[in-house]
Point group: C2
Chain length 193, copies 2
C-alpha cells in the first residue's frame, strides 16, 4: 500500500508542501465513517509550528466530520490524478463512501489514523484542527497544525520541491475552475535566490 | 502606462484570479508613502462578495501601511517577473521606495488609488481590509474584499484563465521557497469538467 518512494517530511518543512498553492484533497474520519473531498483554497500560515488554513464550506460533510473528530488529512495529488481530484470534489460523501466508489486505497496515518493515500500523490499531511469559531463562521476558514507529513522523494526531498521532466506525473495541480487545472511545471530560480 | 491588453474583471470572477495559488505582490499606500512586497500565502475565501485572505507578517512595513490606510493592492506577476518578485520580497520598504529602486512604473487604481502595475503582470486587484484582530494577531492572516480587478486579456478573459504556449511570459509564478518558483503551465481538463 505504502509507496516505497514516500519519506517522512520534517515538520519544519511541512508548510512548504503547500507554499506554491496546489489543489489539495481533504480526508476525514469519524468512527466508521470516512470522507475525501477536493479543496482549491488552502495556504500555510506559519512554518514553525507548521500551521495551515483551508476553506471548508460549512455545509460539507468534510466540515462536519472534521469538527466531530478534530482532525483532517491533506493529500497533494499529482497531475495524473486530475480526473480523481475533480471527481471527489463534485459529489458529497453523504451519498456514499468515495474511497470505495473510486477504488482509492487508503491506509491509516501514523499520528492521527486519518485515511491517507500515496499512489499518485506527491505528499500527505495529518492535521489537528484549531477551532476558530468566528473565522469558520464568517469565512469558512479553518486553521490547523500539521502533526505528521511525508512526500514522494522523487519530487520532494531534503525539504525542497524538485520539479523535473522525469517526475511530471507528480507535478502539482492548481485549480483554475470547473475542472480545469494548470500543472506546476517549469522551475525558475530568481536572481539572488 | 496602462497596457492596452488589460480589461476589467467582473467582481464575481475576481476570486478566480488567485484560485490556483499564484504568488502575489502586495502594494500599499498611505499618504505620500507607498510600498510593494511579495507574498506566497494568499487564497480566496468567497466568490460573492469576492473576498480573499493573505498572510502578512505583523512586523512588515506592508502590514503597517495596510492597517493605516485600510487598503491594499494585489498584483499577479507573470513568469518574466520572477527576479523582480523575489527582489521586492527580500528587502523592506522601510529602507526606501522599492518602486523607484526597481524602476517599477505604477499608476493609481480606479477604486482606491492604490499603486498598481500592468507591465509584465497577469492581473491586479484593489482590496479593502476587513479588520479581524484575532486572526491577524494569531496567524498573521488578513481578510479583505476585492473592490476592483483587471487582467491581461491575453491570459484571463471572460472570467477564465487561458494558459497557452503563446502567453508563457504571463504564466503565473508559484513560490517553492528561497527564490525558486514553479511556473503554472500545461492546462489539464478533468473528465466531467
Amino acid at each position: 500500500m505504502t509507496s516505497s518512494h514516500f519519506r517522512p517530511v520534517a515538520l519544519e518543512h511541512a508548510s512548504r508542501l503547500i507554499n506554491h498553492g496546489p489543489t489539495v484533497l481533504i480526508t476525514t474520519r469519524h468512527g466508521a465513517v470516512r470522507n475525501i473531498m477536493a479543496a482549491a483554497w488552502s495556504m500555510p500560515v506559519e512554518f514553525t509550528p507548521p500551521r495551515v488554513s483551508v476553506v471548508i464550506d460549512k455545509h460539507t460533510y468534510t466540515r462536519e466530520l472534521m469538527q466531530a473528530s478534530g482532525h483532517f488529512g491533506l493529500l497533494i495529488p499529482g497531475a495524473a490524478l486530475a480526473d480523481l481530484t475533480y471527481a471527489v470534489g463534485s459529489v458529497s460523501g453523504r451519498q456514499g463512501d468515495k474511497f470505495a466508489r473510486h477504488g482509492i486505497e487508503a491506509f491509516e496515518g501514523p499520528a492521527l489514523g486519518l485515511p491517507l493515500v500515496e499512489a499518485g500523490m506527491a505528499a500527505w499531511m495529518e492535521c489537528r484542527w484549531i477551532p476558530e469559531p468566528h473565522t469558520e463562521d464568517a469565512y469558512d476558514t479553518c486553521f490547523a497544525e500539521v502533526l505528521s507529513a511525508a512526500a514522494d522523494s522523487r519530487i520532494f526531498a531534503d525539504g525542497h520541491w524538485h520539479f523535473t521532466e522525469a517526475n511530471r506525473e507528480l507535478h502539482t495541480l492548481h485549480h483554475l475552475g470547473a475542472g480545469n487545472f494548470a500543472v506546476a511545471g517549469t522551475p525558475i530560480k530568481a536572481r539572488g535566490g
